[in-house]
């Protein structure tokens, strides 16, 4: 029996010495990461430092050639399927179908996770997706609107660990504030959030803790 992801307590991510290779390039060169339940952790660092790859590794997508550990209590190298079903990753790409409407996209992802129609409606509301947008094809939405739909997918899937790659990118000031509010609310509802940003000052408003990523490795700092 799976524990319900929302019950995740204690240590959510505990990874050691990860080496992840893209092509032949070691995007991660021995990164460690430890995140406790309920935290909102910022991965800060310059472009190309390995933030994206670290998030992908936590999601069980980028397979480490060395190192390992646990995510949501499951072994990263051996129990990837269990990790994946509890983790939600929103990257530079949103995983949405541009030709389908917002509602159809949410219903599709809901169906893959066994969510009901009312779950889908609730998720859209929770992520402040305007009701009028539901019947608009995703391809016609702005970047900020699309990101909110992608976050609503995480709500529909009841993901316990949210991994967000540059969630503030391409948003205006209002959009960023709104996003911060949504993420705080998600954290209050029990989700753990790890997100990346290269704009340290702005992102630290949201984060409860900051981890620096430099040259494929991590370094804990206070924040």
């Amino acid at each position: 029996m799976h524990p319900s992801p929302h019950d995740a307590t204690g240590t959510v991510i505990d990874l050691h010495d990860l080496v992840v290779v893209l092509g032949r390039y070691p995007a991660l060169a021995g990164a460690d990461l430890r995140v406790d339940a309920g935290e909102i952790v910022l991965l800060a660092g310059p472009n190309g430092a390995g933030k994206t790859t670290l998030l992908r590794a936590c999601a069980g997508l980028a397979r480490p050639v060395r190192g390992g550990g646990t995510v949501l209590g499951f072994d990263l190298n051996r129990e990837r399927d269990a990790i994946r079903s509890g983790v939600g990753l929103v990257g530079h790409r949103n995983g949405l179908y541009a030709d389908l409407t917002v509602e159809e996209n949410l219903q599709f992802w809901g169906a893959t996770a066994g969510a009901s129609r009312s779950d889908v409606a609730a998720a859209a509301t929770a992520m402040a997706v305007d009701g009028r947008l539901l019947t608009v094809p995703v391809g016609r939405l702005s970047a900020g609107q699309r990101r909110r739909v992608a976050l609503a997918v995480l709500v529909v899937r009841r993901a316990a660990l949210w991994l967000l790659d540059e969630p503030h990118a391409g948003l205006d000031a209002t959009g960023r504030d709104e996003l911060d509010q949504l993420l705080r609310r998600a954290a209050q509802a029990g989700a753990t959030v790890v997100f990346s940003s290269h704009e340290l000052d702005r992102a630290q408003l949201l984060a409860t803790r900051t981890v620096s990523v430099v040259a494929g490795r991590t370094e804990a700092t206070n924040g």
């Binding site: 032949r24 060169a29 021995g30 430099v214 040259a215 494929g216 490795r217």
Partner: protein, 258 residues
């Protein structure tokens, strides 16, 4: 000092590179047997009553077919062992890869010598016979297999992907063979090879074919040992390059965790 020098002496007496004493013995045996095969096939053996001199091609053609199919069987078995084995061994995957490379080379030889034989015997290079067509499609499929092996990814990814492709090709072979046989049987009475290969093999001919098959089996063993060792070293060099890249990447950050 006294413990090191005898070892050194032993290592230096071994063949260089991917060789060992075993491969050297296999190699010499292979050369001797292939030399005998060529001598017998080209000089000592008589022409066949029905086929004439073209039967001489069979002494190299049949062993190449045998080797090519042997190689693909080894690839398929190794793919299955990799996929269903508990250890998901990379060593087995390298043997599968080495074997597929050898198979592709000898499939090409098989097709080429087969065409030359066909030109003499049938007057055409190609017949849409089940065996020929299956062989040709198998050849192309394994070129695809090797292309999949060349895709980017970690060694484990490469191994799993190519193992899956290796097994799918196995699924393909009987279906291709069945379809071509059914196709030709509707148009002709019997397959060409089936009737024409009924040559009366005397003792020495049979013996030489036997020698050829043994020689090519040894040749396969020799090649697969050398080639899989080379593939192991390619992976090792890849690992070492990765080590270097990791160190270089860490140096970029100027953080010294160690």
């Amino acid at each position: 000092m006294t413990t090191i020098s005898p070892q050194r002496a032993e290592i230096s007496s071994l063949p260089r590179g991917t060789g060992t004493r075993a491969t050297r013995i296999i190699g010499i045996a292979t050369i001797v047997m292939i030399a005998w095969l060529a001598l017998f096939g080209l000089v000592l053996s008589p022409a066949d009553r029905d086929q004439g001199d073209s039967v001489r091609i069979m002494y190299v053609h049949v062993p190449s077919v045998w080797l090519a199919y042997l190689a693909f069987i080894v690839t398929a078995v190794c793919s299955a062992i990799h996929l269903f084995g508990k250890r998901h061994s990379l060593g087995v995957d390298r043997i599968a890869g080495a074997s597929a490379e050898i198979g592709v080379v000898f499939m090409a030889v098989t097709l080429a010598t087969g065409m030359l034989w066909g030109r003499i015997t049938w007057g055409v290079y190609w017949q849409w016979d089940a065996r020929l067509t299956t062989t040709a499609l198998l050849f192309v499929s394994y070129i695809g297999y090797l292309a999949v092996r060349g895709l980017d990814g970690t060694q484990q990814q490469r191994a799993r992907r190519s193992a899956v492709i290796g097994l799918l090709v196995v699924l393909e072979i009987p279906l291709v063979h069945w379809s071509v046989r059914l196709w030709r049987s509707l148009h002709q009475e019997a397959t060409v090879l089936g009737t024409d290969l009924d040559v009366s093999l005397d003792g020495l001919m049979l013996f030489s074919l036997f020698v050829g098959v043994i020689a090519f089996t040894l040749l396969f063993l020799w090649l697969v040992l050398h080639r899989s060792r080379t593939l192991t070293m390619i992976d090792l060099v890849g690992d070492r390059e990765l080590d270097r890249a990791v160190i270089a990447r860490r140096a970029e950050g100027g953080i010294d965790h160690a």
